[in-house]
């Protein structure tokens, strides 16, 4: 028996084939779109990295006001580059865009270390001999008065360290410290004058994150002493105070810069930021500042009658980064950086005046100081290194310095990736 239903069968087969074809077309379309997107993003990634390389190679003054240009004079290779002063280091911003897609990277820029200038200890030659006692270790090259160092029995302690005294080369130091680079201080000066009016509106939110691709957010406490607590602040933020600013351990600061007359960090504070004070910085017990942080006394105006500048680190502090004092004109009372017991610094200490240590302090990195004091329950011994460890070899081989210090090399590198998209 013959059933003449060929038309129906053909229509159904045509429908099935049509469905398969449309599925094929849709799949191919999406595959193509996604691949083109990936290809575009690969290209953008290349362009962003090209921008990063240009920023690392260019001089310090390039791209300060930003600039947009075509990398290879093609249609899809536009980048926007900017370099911003951010305290101890610069922040580079590289943005690549094509049609509606944008990729960017913000990063801090630092310098490699010039090994020919680097020293574990640089103690200015004031004709005072240097002696070691107790369990003291100096690993790395040392610049000492007349290039000499001896052992001593002092404070009821014999020297019990390595027989070589300095595990490295000994050189004769100059009468003055190698100077800090003043180029960066003009940037600090302008930054300190850009604080504007009293403004604490940013503190309305308990958590603020500011991108380096946007304008800098500012908090200015003015002449009102204040305590920063239960706040999380991160990124492109500068905090100003004309008087004392207390930072509680409940506050978290990341990449933020703080300028104040006096800064007090409460016990147990943890963050990664830069603190600049005119008079003093007091760091409480068990505080931890992650690399690359900075504690500095900056006196950019000549004021010979100002009180003694002081950075004090209480017991068991852990600092990663830089500690230094700078006075434009020499004060009658030398600035002092004082460590209590068991303080550990991973980075660089540069004191134009005095560095005072107590028992079991460790500096994994470098110390440059004019005068060295050892403090033990009220007794002070000048140029005696007692129960202190200075170990430059304990520093990471990837450690980067900043161009402010005399040991900085010329090669610029990425210190930290701040934001990427």
């Amino acid at each position: 028996m013959l059933k003449a239903s060929a038309m129906y069968i053909v229509i159904i087969i045509a429908l099935v084939i049509g469905l398969l074809c449309s599925a094929l077309i849709v799949a191919a379309f999406f595959y193509r779109v996604e691949y083109q997107k990936k290809f575009r993003y690969d290209q953008l990634d290349n362009n962003v990295n090209s921008g990063v390389n240009i920023l690392l190679a260019e001089s310090d003054t390039s791209y300060l006001s930003g600039g947009t240009f075509s990398l290879f004079n093609n249609n899809q290779d536009s980048v926007s580059l900017k370099r911003t002063f951010w305290g101890m280091y610069d922040v580079g911003i590289s943005v690549a865009f094509s049609q509606k897609d944008t990729l960017y990277k913000t990063f801090s820029i630092a310098c490699n270390v010039d090994s020919s200038k680097w020293a574990a200890l640089y103690l200015v030659n004031k004709e005072n001999p240097v002696a070691v006692s107790g369990q003291t270790t100096i690993k790395g090259n040392a610049y000492l008065p007349n290039g000499q160092i001896t052992t001593s029995y002092i404070d009821n302690k014999f020297y019990s360290g390595d027989k070589r005294l300095v595990i490295g080369h000994k050189y004769s130091s100059e009468r003055d410290l190698p100077p800090l680079s003043v180029k960066r201080f003009s940037n600090f000066q302008s930054l300190m004058h850009e604080r504007g009016k009293v403004n604490t509106s940013l503190l309305v939110n308990d958590s603020v994150r500011a991108s380096f691709t946007m304008d800098t957010r500012i908090v200015n406490f003015g002449r009102q002493p204040d305590t920063l607590k239960r706040r999380h602040m991160s990124g492109n933020i500068i905090i100003y105070s004309d008087t004392t600013l207390v930072v509680d351990s409940s506050a978290t600061l990341e990449h933020v810069m703080v300028f104040a007359k006096t800064i007090i960090l409460k016990d147990g504070f943890h963050g990664s930021c830069q603190f600049y004070a005119c008079d003093s910085i007091s760091v409480g017990e068990r505080c931890t500042l992650d690399y690359p942080s900075c504690l500095a006394i900056l006196r950019l105006d000549s004021n010979k009658t100002a009180p003694q500048a002081r950075i004090h680190l209480a017991n068991n502090c852990r600092i990663g980064g830089f500690i230094f004092t700078y006075e434009k004109s020499k004060n009658e009372r030398l600035p002092i950086i004082a460590f209590d017991k068991q303080v550990k610094v991973t980075g660089q200490v540069y004191s134009q005046g005095i560095l005072e240590t107590t028992d079991k302090d460790t500096v994994d990195g470098s110390i440059f100081t004019s005068v060295y004091w050892y403090n033990n329950t009220g007794s002070r011994y000048q140029n005696y290194l007692i129960n202190v460890t200075i170990d430059t070899k304990a520093l990471s081989p990837y450690y980067l310095s900043v161009d402010l210090f005399p040991v900085a090399g010329k090669k610029k590198k990425v210190l930290q990736w701040l934001e990427t998209k």
Partner: protein, 122 residues
Amino acid sequence: MAGNKVNMKAVVKASTILEVVIAMVLIVVVFSIAMMIFANVTSSSLSVKKIRAQAILHETLLNAEKTRDTVSKSLNVEDFRIEQDIKPYNQMSQVYDIRLTAYDGNQQKITELEKVILINHE
């Protein structure tokens, strides 16, 4: 007509041949359209060769950055010939413009890659 019961005792109407012819024409049209679409999709999809060439160019670029190589040269990697062209970028001393182009066995350009790289001679 299709779908109607065939009465074996009656005479079958001779419309089936026409119906079959139309059905055949229809199916030929539908199949030819489907084949055209398939051919188009296949030809316009990305070739594996291009993707492989791009991966090789990325690897070559990484090598050039790592070895701080600033010499223009021609390389043979797998089935591809890679032309590496390096020149200083905007007369800057440490920055170079590297352009990599991949050609296949028929000397046809497959893909290219360009980047600004930083080379410190220390």
